[in-house]
């Protein structure tokens, strides 16, 4: 509480002028940045609950039919999945470097460079995901009337692939949204919007990007690595 009150005393900032990016209803840049960051964290909590419903369904069904899940999982391409995992981890690094470059007041070109690198990795992830989906359609292991399964557990396998498409599809959708956000951030950075006094948008976008990566870190072992030890 004391810290809050203290922050508000410096209402006009260090130089006695309002920062051009300070919105009218905030007292100072610190309050504005704290609000945005907290807002993104709260949003990420809602995202955890959103994915949580699917993880719950996965937990229940895998407990009920472990053999079917193991059999179905073996038809996923572990090489492509592992490659995508590495790609996303590297994209998290470039994202962190993009935030860092803004925080430390690096030139716009450096910020844009790291953002574009992040986007390239994100796009590569989606490209590989598209290849995987195409293979599933070719092999008729997409749930629905055309689903074919030649193993022991056709019903359980269809359930596994229902979960696979729901979970990875929702994740891919979040990646697409992430790419959109990065496009906006890159164009703002290009126009020199961010420096060491104002970098909150790029920081909270980074939080979102890392979150989407972490979801994949859970999805990869749960879907691809069942029973492979």
């Amino acid at each position: 509480m004391a810290a809050d009150g203290h922050a508000r005393v410096a209402a006009e900032g260090a130089h006695g002028v309002r920062h051009p990016r300070l919105q009218h209803h905030f007292d100072d840049m610190e309050q504005q940045a704290e609000a945005s960051t907290l807002g993104m964290w709260v949003f990420l909590v809602t995202e955890i609950m959103f994915f949580g419903g699917l993880f719950m369904a996965y937990l229940v069904y895998r407990t009920q039919m472990p053999d079917a899940f193991r059999e179905a999982s073996h038809h996923l391409d572990i090489t492509l999945g592992a490659t995508n995992t590495v790609i996303l981890i590297v994209s998290s690094l470039t994202m962190a470097l993009a935030v860092r470059s803004a925080q430390t007041g690096q030139p716009a070109k450096t910020q844009v460079g790291w953002l574009v690198a992040t986007m390239v990795f994100g796009a590569a992830f989606l490209g590989i995901k598209a290849i995987e989906y195409t293979e599933k359609f070719r092999d008729h292991i997409v749930p629905g009337p055309f689903f074919e399964w030649h193993g022991t557990y056709p019903r359980g396998a269809e359930m596994f692939y229902s979960l696979y498409f729901a979970m990875t599809g929702l994740h891919a959708l979040h990646m697409v949204v992430g790419l959109g956000i990065m496009t906006v951030m890159a164009s703002l950075a290009w126009r020199g919007r961010f420096d060491d006094t104002y970098y909150t948008p790029i920081e909270v976008s980074g939080l979102y990007w890392h979150f989407v990566d972490i979801v994949w870190i859970f999805l990869f072992p749960l879907l691809y690595l069942i029973g492979r030890h």
Partner: protein, 532 residues
């Protein structure tokens, strides 16, 4: 200096506004429209139930009527009602802020709400939905041939409006408080909205993914709940009620916040046991997340799970009872005036108590087997939602109307309307307790002739209740054009919102206030510690 109503004219100044007060009014207009739409469905239901035979509509149409009534009233009226209108308007003012933390997200939440509402209207006009507002699988995924996807997407989209509102409130309450506005000086209205927002952000995403999966199962054949693939319809019920039970606390907690303010204001007394009332809101939010299984006692849940959920459901009654006792103790020896907001608050106290106690009947596993899916549960639910939440909403609307509109409403008419609402409400819903206990099931449009007397009473009551709801519509509208101008503090009460002009200026405060004590300190000032 222009106030928020005169600062900017024309449609665009409203549709593109970022002022929390104007957005609150956008919400007020849209939820009122949905309230009367949902009320129309209720009227048709009561009309059909006037006679034992099904003579107004077919059973298929009747299924659509109660589904649309539930969907519209729950998702498009009750959930946004107090938070999006009164919370939106008064939380920033009560904590001494110029606006919510994210004004653009606030406006976005209204547009998202309207988009979800349009989906629901399209579903309604295109022929309706017949799954019940609960969208239970496998009926909703495999059997129903009505507009389940459209209505489901409507609920999905509107959920995000609720999430955005909750997110905005949480950040605002954490980061936008005026100097000196410590957590234990917050008005109780703000505390209850903080608890509500926690439920909104933790629960709503779960219903979102659940109805999305129903839509995906219908549309794309991903069979997450499909028994043919080993899917479990009970899992749907767990996920659905994980949100939808806490959702009733989204509806009632804000009303409790209003009652806390009104009871203090019209008893001229600061609340008895401030921190107990504040923490009971949080307790309701937390325990409320652990009781959902009481909706599935007879659906195939294990007996042991049923017992645990039964005990937890008893526990959640404790913080609710704490509030009722503390409000009563606040009124005790207070200087009570019987203005319309206080009449609604008295109505709330009585009706919420009946609704809460009958909730304990339903939490008892053995008794629930007898009254499950009967009119008893309908009566219980409406005592909480209509007798509780809507009474609280009307109390708040009357209490703050002078501040919102800058005009006084006619007090005599308002007291009369409050009386009509109380009488009409009890006449509508009390007979339903008896009907349910005698065994009349919910969701049927025909019934045995011996139930007719009680059903006629209920329908008569609904007509009286409708008059009670139309009256405020008429005199509030009248007051905008012909009402007496409201002073800054018409009730002579304490609170930051009563220290600024009516209607408030766009920026709320010309000079940021510095808070030195709690609101509603009427007794000789003594700062009460956390324990008291």
């Amino acid at each position: 200096m222009p106030n928020y109503l005169t600062n900017g004219h024309g449609l665009a100044s409203w549709l593109l506004t970022k002022d929390h007060k104007r957005i609150a009014l956008l919400y007020l207009a849209s939820i009122t429209a949905f309230f009367f739409l949902g009320g129309m469905f209720a009227f048709l239901i009561r009309l059909e139930l006037l006679t034992p035979a099904g003579d107004v509509m077919t059973s298929e149409s009747y299924n659509k009527m109660f589904t649309m009534h539930g969907v519209v009233m729950v998702f498009f009226f009750l959930i946004p009602s107090i938070p999006a209108v009164l919370g939106n308007f008064f939380i920033p003012i009560m904590i001494g802020a110029k606006d919510l933390a994210f004004p653009r997200i606030n406006l976005l939440s209204w547009y998202v709400y309207v988009l979800g509402g349009l989906f629901t209207l399209v579903a309604a006009l295109g022929g309706g939905v017949d799954t019940g507002w609960t969208f239970y699988t496998p009926y909703s995924t495999a059997a129903s041939n009505t507009h389940v996807i459209t209505a489901g997407l409507g609920v999905f989209i509107t959920g995000f409006s609720s999430i955005l509102t909750g997110l905005n409130f949480i950040v605002t309450i954490h980061r936008m408080r005026a100097p000196g506005m410590t957590w234990f000086r917050l008005p109780l209205f703000v505390w209850s909205h903080y608890a509500t927002s926690l439920i909104m952000i933790l629960g709503t995403p779960v219903i979102a993914i659940t109805v999305l999966l129903v839509a995906v199962e219908r549309g794309l054949h991903l069979g997450i709940f499909d028994p043919a693939l080993g899917g479990d319809p009970i899992l749907f019920q767990h996920l659905f009620w994980f949100y939808s039970h806490p959702a009733v606390y989204i509806m009632i907690l804000p009303a409790m916040g209003v009652i806390s303010e009104v009871v203090q204001a019209f008893s001229r007394k600061n609340v008895f046991g401030y921190s107990f009332v504040a923490f009971s809101s949080l307790a309701i939010a937390i325990i409320g997340f652990l009781v959902w299984g009481h909706h599935i006692f007879v659906a195939g849940q294990s007996v042991y799970a049923g017992l645990i959920f039964s005990i937890l459901s008893f526990l959640v009654a404790i913080p609710s009872a704490v509030k009722v006792f503390n409000w009563t103790a606040t009124i005790y020896k207070g200087s009570v005036s019987f203005d319309a907001p206080m009449l609604y608050a008295f109505g709330f106290l009585g009706l919420f108590t009946i609704g809460g106690l009958t909730g304990l009947f339903l939490a008892t596993v053995g008794l629930d087997v007898h009254v499950h899916d009967t009119y008893f549960i309908i009566a219980h639910f409406h005592y909480i939602m209509v007798g509780g939440a809507i009474m609280g909403y009307l109390a708040g609307l009357h209490y703050w109307w002078p501040k919102i509109s800058g005009k006084m409403y006619p007090e005599g008419w308002a007291r009369f309307a409050a009386l009509i609402v109380f009488v009409g409400f009890n006449l509508t819903f009390f007979p339903q307790f008896v009907l349910g206990y005698l065994g009349m099931p919910r969701r049927y449009h025909v019934y045995p002739p011996e139930f007719q007397v009680l059903n006629v009473l209920s329908t008569a009551g609904a007509t009286v209740l409708a008059v009670g709801y139309l009256l405020p519509m008429v005199y509030f509208t009248w007051s905008i054009f012909a009402g007496e101008k409201a002073p800054m503090n018409p009730w002579g009460v304490k609170g930051l919102e009563w220290e600024i002009p009516s209607p408030p200026p766009t920026e709320n405060f010309v000079v940021s206030p510095i808070v030195t004590h709690r609101t509603h300190q009427y007794a000789p000032s003594k700062e009460v510690g956390i324990g008291g």
